[in-house]
Amino acid sequence: MTDDDEDLFARVCDGRATAAELADFHRRLRTDAAALDAWVRYADLHAELAAGPALGAARAPGERLALPPPAAPRPASTWRQWAPQAAAGLCLGLLTATMVWAVVSPVAPVPRTVLAEDFESPAAVPASRVPLGPGLWRGDAAEVVGAQHGLAPARGAKMLRFLRADAEVAAKPAGGHIAVVYRLIDLRPYRADFADGEGVLEVSASFNALEFPDAESYGCAISLYALEAESVPERVGRLGSALADEALAMARSSRTKLDRDPASWQRLTTELRLPPQAEFVAVRLHINQSFESGDNPVFKGSYADDLRVSLSRRAPLP
């Protein structure tokens, strides 16, 4: 193994490789048999240390086989404690997949799954524009639906269907309309993880649309706004521009044009490096139709699903 290989492998294993370094890593594995051999050995060592028995002496042999008692209190979790807890909950029918993810978050260092939203609960419906508060979906009219018109949810049995562009109608783009929903997330429980300014929030979601005429087109985007508590707007309404003015930092994914195939979901990911003083983040999911459909624009078949929000210390996308 060359010194260059070793430096690169170490950066990849420690999650510090840049996009250019990952491209170089990919090229070397593809084209250099010696580098591939070296990687297999290096990765094996790394994996043994991370997940093998070598460093796991603190755990008694066989302990992992023990089924947890049904009423066991939920411990302060590290990721290693997730499986028995989750599995116990699953056996008892007490935990949904979304809750399983939530178990991971309380005190585990990083990465933390901050939110996993599959829109399985009717409570996910953005019912109104006010109040904007943690744990609530707010924004334009929308509904939680199951598979319909040949379009199945990206995850689980339900998904979010955008219905109308209401809240930001005054800020609509020329020749089109935007339907948006917002979710405010309280970051204060996680502040220790980004107090040094190195925390990165990653948000991804899937979008889809029913087959639509050639004259129409649809796009989607995710925006993130890091906010101090005093800057959180109380209500939705031109919220996008208000948030952009008030945000400590913001990020937005490139708008992706949706295809006409209901079988394929577009997956968008956006990352935001969190300023240390951030206390909340507003996640904005957005579907736009780039054609006029009157003053009360109706979205006939636009959907979002499988929202994931996680906090890590990985370098943001270049």
Binding site: G15, D44, E48, A54, G56, T78, L90, T269
Partner: protein
């Protein structure tokens, strides 16, 4: 006449396999998604899917190959949704790595055995760094704070420790004639 196993008994049997396979699955995933934080995300996705598909599992077959098959899909999903990793999803790199790992399987197994001896030879400070990072999931920043060093110094230290472990393992394998002398 014997009673058919109850669904709960089936679930418990599956759960035992599930728990036994967790670490092996993480080791498998780390080969393709090396950053531990990412690998754990992929592992969680895999475990949730395994549980959802438990009714499809054929108890007469080995659990781990079936689970690794699902993990492979989850790795590819991860590659596809991470722009920085997208190139990995576009070709047969996973198969290439698989083949090489399969060809080296005996040696890798021996390396795992030697690793324990080599870990025992590490100076206490290095062992503490390694335990903090790998076993206790401490962040590099937290380790740096505890050890009074910069995060970069901790990363360098981790790299040196891995290097010294590889050297130790290979010395041992050479002594036993498993690897040729340089």
């Amino acid at each position: 006449m014997d009673a058919a196993p109850s669904p709960q008994a089936d679930d418990e049997a599956f759960l035992r396999q599930f728990m036994l396979g967790e670490r092996a699955l993480l080791r498998f995933i780390l080969r393709y998604v090396p950053a531990a934080a990412d690998a754990r995300d992929v592992l969680q996705e895999t475990l949730v899917t395994l549980w959802a598909k438990r009714a499809e599992f054929d108890a007469t077959r080995e659990f781990l190959p079936w689970a690794c098959g699902i993990a492979r899909f989850k790795v590819r999903e991860f590659w596809r949704r991470q722009p920085r990793w997208e190139a990995f999803a576009r070709d047969d790199l996973m198969d290439l790595i698989d083949r090489r790992a399969h060809e080296q399987a005996d040696e890798l197994s021996l390396r795992g055995e030697k690793l324990r001896d080599c870990l025992a030879k590490l100076p206490p400070a290095q062992r503490a760094t390694l335990d903090g990072y790998y076993r206790d999931d401490e962040t590099v920043e937290s380790l740096a704070l505890r050890e009074g060093r910069s995060p970069d110094a901790v990363y360098k230290s981790l790299q040196r420790i891995r290097r010294s472990l590889l050297d130790c393992i290979e010395r041992s394998l050479r002594t036993e004639g498993v690897l040729p002398q340089p």
